[in-house]
Amino acid sequence: MTTKEFAGATMEVNEEGFLVDPQMWNKDIAVAIAKEEGIDELTEDHWKVIEFCRQSATDNGAAPTLRQITSGTGITTKELFKLYPKGPAKKVAKISGLGKPEGCV
């Protein structure tokens, strides 16, 4: 298992850079991971999505899919791609300290 430093704390991460233990996450870590993912500033809308994902993962035991995020937050898919360019579901899961979304089987 590799480790990585975020916001002064050493974290265990998997081979794709996702935190291994979601309990270790905090907001400073989110900001640090977001920077690495090319998002310089986390706005209110960014946080709204992150908070939804954290809550959803607590309730369901897994990071939400793209459609769960859009129907749960009211943010459209288009806006979500602006907030989190490329793959939003995967990106926001990473920033929220959750595992990779397993929406697909």
């Binding site: 793209l66 898919t77 360019p85 697909c104 089987v105």
Partner: protein, 410 residues
């Protein structure tokens, strides 16, 4: 008199009716099955219609031929399910049915309207689906006289019914255009929301290599935003444009509208269901089988079949006041047609991804897992007969419901 009500008379609902009619005492129970459609479709056969391997008559039979005689069949739309009152209202004659146990087997359907522009002018002219008989037949008419060009297959969103079908379509297209002598004039492109060919790593890498060998281009992580019919391109949310001459779409899949109307579904109208017992998460006398359930495994007839014994046992236990057993493991197994009279078989569950090996008899087969073989192809071809004559009628199949690791290697 107690009532077992089954909603949906497709693969899953028909199997439940057949099994339950043997288990329940007809003096104590009546079994009712409701479906709005009289025709049973052998859905795995739709894939073969565009390529003239099957014709429409090969994939349709009357639903009533498969229901046991002691089951009442009601041909009607379902208006609403009222699970708090143990009642279902039908549109036909405004009939309301009070039930003691309810089985939801309403399946999944394609919803092309979910993707902007998909059903515009080109729909069924040079934009097709193959998940309906109409779509598959229209595509067959188109391909019959096609001179070649760029064929793009797009999967709009996961989950979809039969997640291997898009790959099979491309493998068969490669074969079909070879046979027609125009493969050199055809470009095959696969635009998928997945990061690769399939959802599970080992299978994804083997199937990905096959796509490469067959010269099929993959556009991964592709989330379609719209179909621009005027420019003949599809556009993704991250603004990648993929041009097409013919677009074959696997549209968004959702559960039945009645699930949504009744407020019983998740964001895709699938019913929240316990992954291992198949009991509804919200009502203890409501049970869910097949594509209608939100369980994280493939939506496929084989899965409905593997769910069947668990569902029946658990309902019977519940009727006796016992707790349901968490026996369903997400077991799925799929024949993948790979063209040129070859096929691949994959076998997996919630926890174990598809692995190479032999099936169903360890070391012997006759089927090879995660590997092309002619025997796998003949297995798939024979399966249609098994489906109509054994599976739907609830007959015994020579496999266990739970997946086994015997005969597989990592």
């Amino acid at each position: 008199m107690k009532t077992l009500l089954i909603l949906g008379g497709g693969t899953a609902g028909t199997m439940v009716a057949n099994k339950m009619s043997h288990h329940l005492d007809p003096l104590e129970w009546r079994i009712i099955i409701v479906d709005e459609n009289e025709t049973h479709y052998y859905q795995p056969g739709f894939l073969f219609i565009p390529f003239e391997i099957y014709s429409p008559s090969d994939v349709v039979k009357p639903k009533r031929d498969f229901y046991p005689s002691n089951v009442e069949f009601v041909h009607s739309q379902i208006e609403i399910i009222e699970p708090d009152d143990n009642r279902v209202r039908l549109t036909r004659d405004n009939r309301a049915i009070d039930y003691d146990y309810l089985v939801i087997a309403t399946g999944s359907r394609i919803v092309p309207e979910e993707t902007e522009g998909l059903t515009d002018n080109g729909w069924r002219e040079n934009v097709f689906d193959f998940y309906t008989l109409e779509g598959a037949t229209a595509l067959n008419r188109f391909l019959k006289f096609w001179k070649g060009g760029r064929l793009v297959l797009n999967v709009a969103e996961m989950p979809i019914k039969c997640p291997v079908a898009p790959l099979e379509f491309l493998f068969l297209a490669d074969w079909f255009f070879h046979e027609r002598g125009i493969r050199d004039k055809v470009e095959l492109v696969y635009a998928t929301p997945l990061p690769g060919a399939f959802t599970k790593p080992k299978a994804s890498s083997i199937l990905g290599d096959m796509l490469k060998d067959k010269n099929i281009l993959v556009e991964p992580d592709y989330m379609i935003m719209e179909v621009d019919h005027d420019k003949s391109v599809i556009r993704s949310y991250d603004e990648r444009e993929v041009p097409y001459d013919v677009l074959v779409s696997v549209p968004v899949n959702m559960g039945s509208e009645v699930i949504d109307r009744s407020g019983m579904g998740n964001e895709l109208s699938f019913v929240p269901t316990d992954n291992h017992t198949l009991q509804s998460e919200n009502w203890e006398n409501v049970w869910v089988i097949g594509d209608a359930a939100d369980v994280p495994t493939s939506k496929a007839g084989s899965v409905a079949h593997f769910m069947l014994d668990v569902l029946i046992e658990n309902m019977l236990r519940h009727m006796e006041g016992l707790d349901p057993l968490p026996k369903f493991d997400g077991h799925a197994n799929c024949f993948i047609e790979s063209g040129f009279e070859n096929g691949i078989l994959i076998d997996f569950n919630y926890d174990v991804e598809p692995l190479p090996g032999k099936y169903p008899l360890p070391g012997f087969g006759p089927f090879s897992l995660l590997k092309e073989s002619p025997v796998n192809h003949w297995g798939k071809m024979m399966f249609r007969w098994i489906y109509w004559n054994v599976l739907l009628k609830g007959g015994e199949m020579p496999f266990e419901s739970q997946m086994t690791m015997a005969g597989k290697w990592n």
